[in-house]
């Protein structure tokens, strides 16, 4: 019973952590972008204010059942996936379900939120939403291929599909997967550019072009819930990358409160540095067209993924 209580506590704590970190990173990116553009920029907590404002809107309109359910799906998918990735390797406070999830399952679940958004956007009947959804699915077809190739390379190399075991291997041998399979890491890094949807791959939202795409008919609480789900998803992707390639965070041999805090600090540093890659890439790039984006992903990133698999096999 005590174990169950700890697990529930850990789940709540994980959700709060993922939400806070994701929103704060978004705020930091807005501030940094402003500084790069020689502006003063909004405060770092601006995203929280936006969310609070959206949640305190007095009227909210939904266009039917799926329009009502889409934000709920997104946040359900986000929290579910969050439960299946290890936040800290072998830590007492964030046990969650990390032992029972594997990479193939995560690949499926991570698409679930986008699917919910696609259905909700479809029901709103806005033509911009429909174009945005078709673009998003096309882009997903693009970046999923190098991403899956990179993950398959890891699975072949270490003969396991469990995120937990992959992290544990890095902890035991002391060699991060960046070094043991650099090609797979590069392929996954290129895929992350598309995943985070910063420029040049912001073809889904495309504010000036598509009027924010799939979310164009969502306002108020619906938009706020989608924002929270997106923030948690950003945290999920970053944490997954850190645990797969960058040696993970947390020390399974030592389970004191200081070890937890140290692990969290390391996790935050690693995820932040990783998050800066798509952001930096976005600052210096204009927007691609859909077919250019797909051609980009099916070019060098896919080739790197195949080289990564060959590297793993031989």
């Amino acid at each position: 019973m005590e174990d169950l209580g700890l697990k529930i506590f850990g789940a709540v704590l994980t959700t709060i952590l993922g939400f806070t970190v994701g929103m704060t990173y978004g705020g930091i990116v807005r501030k940094l972008t402003a500084r790069v553009q020689n502006r003063y920029g909004p405060p770092v907590y601006q995203n929280f204010l936006d969310l609070f404002k959206l949640q305190s809107k007095k009227t909210n309109i939904a266009h039917g059942f799926m329009g009502h359910m889409a934000p709920v799906w997104i946040i359900i998918a986000a929290v579910t996936v969050l439960m299946f990735i290890p936040i800290l390797n072998g830590d007492l406070w964030f046990p969650n379900l990390s032992f029972h999830g594997d990479l193939i399952f995560l690949l499926y679940m991570m698409v679930f939120g986008s699917l919910g958004m696609a259905l909700g956007a479809g029901q709103s009947g806005n033509p911009n939403s429909a174009i945005g959804v078709s673009r998003g699915l096309s882009q997903m077809v693009g970046f999923e291929i190098p991403f899956v190739l990179a993950l398959v390379a890891l699975m072949i190399q270490y003969e396991t599909t469990s995120v937990q075991e992959l992290t544990q291997i890095q902890h035991d041998t002391g060699v991060w997967m960046v070094f043991s399979n650099p090609f797979a890491f590069l392929a996954a890094l290129f895929a992350s550019l598309g995943m985070f949807r910063y420029a040049p791959f912001d073809i889904v939202g495309a504010p000036a072009e598509l009027a924010s795409g799939p979310i164009s008919e969502f306002g108020g609480k619906y938009l706020g819930t989608m924002m929270s789900g997106g923030a948690i998803f950003a945290f999920i992707k970053l944490t997954l990358y850190v645990h797969l390639f960058l040696g993970g965070a947390g020390n399974p041999d030592n389970s004191g409160i200081f070890a937890t805090l140290l692990g969290l600090g390391i996790l935050l540093i690693k995820t932040f540095l990783l998050y800066m890659v798509p952001v930096f890439y976005g600052w210096i790039n204009p927007r691609y067209r859909t077919e250019q984006a797909i051609r980009y992903f099916w070019g060098w990133p896919t080739a790197l993924g195949i080289i990564g698999i060959l590297w793993a096999v031989y």
Partner: protein
């Protein structure tokens, strides 16, 4: 946002604080005023430091910014856009044309005085108002929001008959869907 005793409770205060510092603007670029919006948003005047940012669609927006003269044809679209916005919602009239018609005061095809057709929270004077004036208008709106006085969405709903009568005087072929909150 005002309760019975006409004073703000703590929740109202926090909500108004968030509303005040997070203003999503839908710039309805009807007239020449739209050219001042990029200058207000970009690096020289940087409206984003007040939490003001552009919204792409009426559903996400808080402020409807009417930048310049309104012809009778665009008035129809503006009304439609305004009714799609979610409360609390605010309207800012931008430039002399929205106040009294400006240089188009005797035109057969433009309206004089936006507040006959939509409830306006803040007018910005000038032809054209410079970005400083736009920002000062936004600061005025922020003050109104913080004091809980920006309640024009409710005002529009309650006085719908009045506004509809005025609107139908201008728009002869009224073929619009019903107001759907």
């Amino acid at each position: 946002m005002e309760n019975d005793k006409n004073s703000q409770k703590i929740v109202d205060y926090i909500q108004n604080f968030a509303r005040k510092h997070s203003i999503f603007v839908l710039a309805y670029g009807t007239g020449c005023g739209a050219i001042e919006i990029p200058a207000t948003m970009t690096s020289r005047y940087d409206a984003e430091r007040f939490g003001i940012r552009g919204a792409a669609t009426p559903r996400q927006a808080d402020v409807l910014l009417i930048t310049g003269y309104l012809s009778t044809k665009t008035l129809k679209r503006v009304i439609r856009v305004y009714e799609q916005m979610q409360e609390p919602k605010y309207v800012m009239g931008f430039g002399s044309c929205t106040i009294n018609g400006g240089m188009y005061y005797d035109s057969y095809n433009t309206i004089n005085g936006l507040d006959q057709y939509l409830p306006v929270d803040v007018y910005i004077n000038g032809c054209m108002p410079r970005p400083e004036a736009v920002i000062s208008g936004f600061v005025k709106l922020q003050e109104l929001i913080q004091q809980g006085k920006a309640e024009n969405g409710k005002k529009y709903r309650e006085n719908l008959e009045h506004y509809r009568t005025n609107q139908k005087k201008i728009i002869k072929n009224w073929r619009m869907p019903d107001y759907n909150w």
